[in-house]
């Protein structure tokens, strides 16, 4: 019940004075109330909980986070201990030799 899940807005309409949307959750489509995110647009993503859109999902932030994660490895390669890296590579070479 407490799980809130991301969904994509397919369609928006006014019903009984309430802003409602049709939202796609990876194939499952449900009616969602937009009263708490009145400026959400068709094609945008939001976190939805018990039939209410509670927060817009920011694609730019998602992309930045993924870039940070990807960079973590690069930074380690750049600033890590070169002796350790060489030793790891040597081990990998040894394993390759055994396989051959």
């Amino acid at each position: 019940m407490c799980l809130a899940v991301p969904g994509k807005v397919l369609d928006i309409e006014e019903r009984d004075g309430t802003r409602m949307a049709t939202v796609d959750f990876g194939g499952v489509v449900k009616e969602v109330c937009l009263e708490y995110l009145p400026d959400l647009r068709v094609g945008e993503y939001a976190i939805v909980h018990v039939g209410f859109a509670l927060q817009r999902l920011d694609e730019e932030s998602a992309r930045q986070t993924l870039e940070l994660f990807a960079e973590l490895g690069l930074l380690q390669e750049e600033f890590g201990d070169p002796w350790e890296a060489a030793a790891t590579e040597a081990d990998e070479d040894a394993v390759e030799e055994v396989r051959k």
Binding site: C2, L3, V50, G51, Q55, L72
Partner: protein, 375 residues
């Protein structure tokens, strides 16, 4: 969202884990507050991949688990009345009250219906003007705004046969109670991402400062949790204690102002008993006097119910991070998801249910599912 697959990327998870392993130099204990995060951690085996010095303690963030027995008994009594259609989220059906649950009330002839949204209950009220429709309004700050909006709509549309049994709880007072306990071992928090989507981060700097603990707002995908852990242990190793947002794609510092305004209008803060823990001051919401007409407790006069927890159930200690689920003698023997002693086992988001479903531990083979390693 289209990024979900990428937030489960094993290669990126390995990089985050490497960074965490390189950062941790001594023992630390972090609490993840939300039951959804607990399930993600156990399901993906994240706790087993972390450095052995780093312990994840499961917090009280399962609304089904912490709803007090007294409120469950009130729900059972109201749901038993012939004039009532009682609407609830599905995960409340098997939560044991004193002697029975909502599922049994239905089998005894009560009109108990499962709804996906509180607005569904309001629609049922419009369709059945000669019946009393009651919605079971439980949950944390994520669930409270939808419920608040539903009561507001009922009042606006003049739907007089709709009322709500309200037992909402708030996270920050629970953090305060956990940190104030003399036996507390928690040194940092992974704050519940979706609670913060609504409430923002304004309630946390005071707590971080007062208890000198880092609080990192954290999401639910494996990479989100690893990033939350990474940022928390970085702070701990440096002796810092600030509030940090590791879930920026869904959490703005101010939260959702429209939802917060509705909460303030419809609810007022009250002391609330947490199942297995006891009363935490200021930790709940009840309907404000303006909406008294839609308060099911007022309408059905169910005061005076006094109940006691089963003595064998140690879910209170589990909820406070003092006991791991499998350390309880009843775990997996007399207490299973089919025969739960307490709500931490019956709730799909409870810590005991997570351990039962995903961990092998010392339990007989075939009783649990394998965790799916994240890397």
């Amino acid at each position: 969202m289209k990024y979900i697959d990428e937030f489960q990327d094993p290669e990126l998870a390995r990089r985050l884990l490497d960074d965490i392993h390189a950062t941790v130099t001594r023992p630390w204990a972090l609490m993840e507050v939300c039951g959804g995060q607990t399930h993600s951690i156990i399901r993906h085996g994240i706790d087993q991949l972390l450095p052995k010095e780093l312990e994840l303690i499961h917090g009280p963030g399962c609304p089904v688990c912490v709803t007090p027995l007294e409120v469950i008994d009130k729900a059972l009594e109201i749901a038993s009345r012939p004039e009532v259609i009682f609407c609830s989220f599905g995960d409340m059906l098997r939560v044991p009250g004193t002697g029975r649950d909502l599922f049994q009330v239905r089998s005894e002839g009560g009109d108990v219906r499962v709804v996906y949204s509180p607005l569904d209950a309001l629609r049922i009220a419009r369709q059945n003007p000669d019946r009393q429709v009651v919605f079971f309004g439980i949950g944390f700050e994520t669930t409270a705004p939808p419920n608040a909006m539903t009561v507001h709509q009922a009042r606006k549309l003049g739907i007089a046969n709709f009322s709500m049994l309200v037992s909402h709880v708030r996270v920050p007072p629970a953090i305060e109670a956990i940190m104030s306990s003399p036996s507390c071992r928690v040194q940092g928090f992974l704050a519940a991402g979706h609670v913060c989507s609504v409430m923002g981060m304004g309630e946390y700097p005071g707590l971080a400062e007062r208890f000198r603990v880092p609080i990192v707002v954290t999401g639910f995908e494996p990479l989100d949790i690893l990033e939350g852990v990474r940022r928390a242990v970085r702070q701990l190793e440096r002796g810092e204690h600030t509030v940090d947002n590791a879930y920026a794609r869904a959490v703005r510092p101010e939260g959702n102002p429209a939802a917060r305004a509705m909460l303030e209008d419809v609810f007022e803060v009250t002391d609330r008993a947490w199942r297995g823990i006891g009363v935490i001051p200021g930790s709940g919401w009840r309907l404000s006097s303006k909406y008294r007409d839609h308060d099911a407790e007022h309408r059905f006069q169910v005061d005076g119910i006094r109940t006691e927890e089963p003595a064998a159930c140690r879910s209170g200690e589990v909820l406070q991070g003092l006991l791991k689920p499998h350390e309880c003698e009843a775990f997996g023997t007399v207490c299973t998801p089919r025969t739960p002693l307490g709500a931490t086992m019956v709730s799909s988001e409870g810590a005991c249910a997570a351990y039962y479903l995903y961990r092998r531990l010392d339990m007989p083979a075939g009783k649990t599912r394998e965790a799916t390693p994240v890397v």
